[in-house]
Amino acid sequence: MNLLLIAWRNMQQRGLSSWLTIFSMALGVTLVVIVLAISGVVTESFQRNSSVGYNIIVGAKGSPLQLTLNTVFYLSRPVENVPYSYFLEFQPGTGRQDAFKKIGGRMHEADRPGRYSRYMAGGFAVPVCLGDYFGPFRVVGTTPDFFANLRYGEAGDMEYKFSEGRNFQEYSQENGYFEAVIGSRAASEMKVKVGDKVSPSHGNPDGEGHGEKFTIVGVLAPTGTPNDRALFINMEGFYWMDKHSKPLDEVAKAEKESGLTYAETPGTAESDGLPAKLPIHQREVTAILVKPGGESGIFAANMERTINENLQAQAASPVREIANMLSMFVQPVQFALLVLTIMVCLVSAIAILVSIYNSMSERRRDIAVMRALGARRDVVLAIILAESVLIAVAGGVIGWLLGHGISAIASPWVEDQTGIQVGFLTINTWEWMLIPGIVLLAIGAGLIPAFSAYRTDVSRNLSA
């Protein structure tokens, strides 16, 4: 008969008490597994989505993290805007002068190229206007370039696809400037499809409607990115919505304060047979998504520095901001949670200790009998340790199964929310520490009763 069987029989003898301690250990391990799973999902969802296909986010001065959270994850409060003319500084070649002529309006030094144009050959800059809501979902005013140029996925190399319809156009015969594309999640939750007309509300999810209706022309295929939870509308249409143009008196005040001279042109929209566009000086953008030209963004660092030296705006690197946030906020919280759950396991180990220790007085005779049958003291010690380990490992296995079972049950919901799959067998690397950790803990807990067994006086405890 091996020692484990003897330990098992001892456990059975303590019945309910054994099962309760197993249950408490199972609970602790379940919590550890779930915390590890949640940590994994949170970290992965941030890390995966920080490869966005561009290197720099340019926006109003302020917190670079807030700019990143806003622009990449559509989280946090909307940030301030920067003038549209600032966006034009990122047009390659003569893009800045051309845009001025086409859109029209007032602009300082209208005939020079963009200040950063020299970095931009082969790259791109996509403007983003945030601040509106569609139901609970963020509205993103942008250009068709958003889906043409940006990528997603872990390697940042997957193109956006449409499960229905197409990308919106800057101008279309049937919808003018008022086309929209919707993320998969937002579409299913808001129950809209291609052909539906939607109208964003201003400022917050319960804000009043704007009146202008955008026609949905495409539904994005699921990407597992925050873009699944957003409505994308044509920026040209966005500008014509109520309260989206910068009031003229503010423009005049700003121009006066700057003391600069401004050129003015009416723009070519009407002569091209298009509806009028909002003039440049009344336009603003929330963020500019920039991928500089050059091999693997060699200009990016340079450009980031130059932008940040300038007082007008800031440049943030989303990858770096996310990494910072993970190490500064998320990881410490995860660590604290993990420590808490490990404490739960520790308490369970103490419960094992107490339960075995309390049974020692009833067991003295049994131990003495085993000794009289020739069991060495260290064998008796091993039997008690084995019992402790058995309880802990049984609890550990049950807890592990329970934790992964719960993860698996929650998996469809998590995937829905984050695009990250957590299967029953998605195992965090830290989990491999669990079994040796539990065994060590159990040995630690078993040592006190085991030594008490070790010291049992045989002759006194034999009822001869």
Partner: protein
């Protein structure tokens, strides 16, 4: 010679301080395979003497040679080993482990010995004591006589060289008493096991070829008598 006890002395501390001497045994020798009965009044120190022979209690003085091994020179671990290898012990109160079946109780007697897991022998021993159909019963499901028979089988499981039986029939009715004594004596004979059996019962004692009285062995009791 399987056992040679020389000049053993044992005292126990008194609750109020000081000590009381229980044993002072100049000599006790037992040959291999010899069957001895040990008679003596209650409280005379019979159980204490068996515990000392088994290495469960250490004497204050003296020497115990068990199958040529000097027990008093061994560590507790060493005595545990010798006990596992050479000794069987049948307790007055059986001392079966309640959580284990009859068969498991017998196998426990082997587990701690030379580590042999001879289920066949365990089963055969239980059959020999008439419990072949009760192998998987727990002690609480068995009668007192049956429990004592398990404890005999357990004591013999490890093929000891010396069997110590401490009033093995004190808790058993007269009919069963004789059966158990016969069983112990026959098995010891078959397997060439020396036997020291403690009893109060003169009638039982007279069946044995050799009778030792504790009053003769133990000088403490002689002093008291004077």
């Amino acid at each position: 010679m399987i056992l040679e006890v020389t000049n053993i002395q044992k005292s126990f501390p008194l609750p109020g301080g000081g000590t009381v001497q229980i044993l002072d045994v100049p000599q006790l020798k037992v040959d291999s395979g010899e069957q001895t009965v040990l008679l003596g009044q209650s409280g005379g120190g019979k159980t204490t003497l068996l515990h000392i022979i088994a290495g469960i209690t250490t004497p204050d003085k003296g020497s115990i040679l068990l199958d040529g091994i000097e027990l008093t020179k061994l560590s507790e671990q060493g005595r545990d080993r010798v006990r596992a290898a050479k000794l069987g012990y049948v307790f007055q109160t059986f001392n079966l482990l309640p959580g284990f079946t009859a068969l498991e109780n017998v196998r426990l007697g082997m587990t701690f010995g030379n580590g042999k897991h001879d289920i066949t022998r365990a089963t055969r021993l239980l059959e020999r004591v008439g419990l072949g159909d009760r192998l998987h019963y727990k002690p609480s499901q068995l009668s007192v006589g049956q429990q004592q028979r398990i404890s005999v089988a357990r004591a013999l499981a490890n093929r000891p060289r010396l069997l110590l039986a401490d009033e093995p029939t004190a808790n058993v009715d007269a009919a069963n008493q004789q059966k158990i004594i016969d069983l112990i004596r026959e098995t010891c004979q078959e397997e060439q096991i020396a036997l020291i059996m403690v009893t109060h019962d003169l009638k039982l004692a007279q069946q044995f070829p050799r009778i030792e009285r504790l009053e003769d062995l133990n000088r403490v009791l002689q002093a008291v008598a004077k």
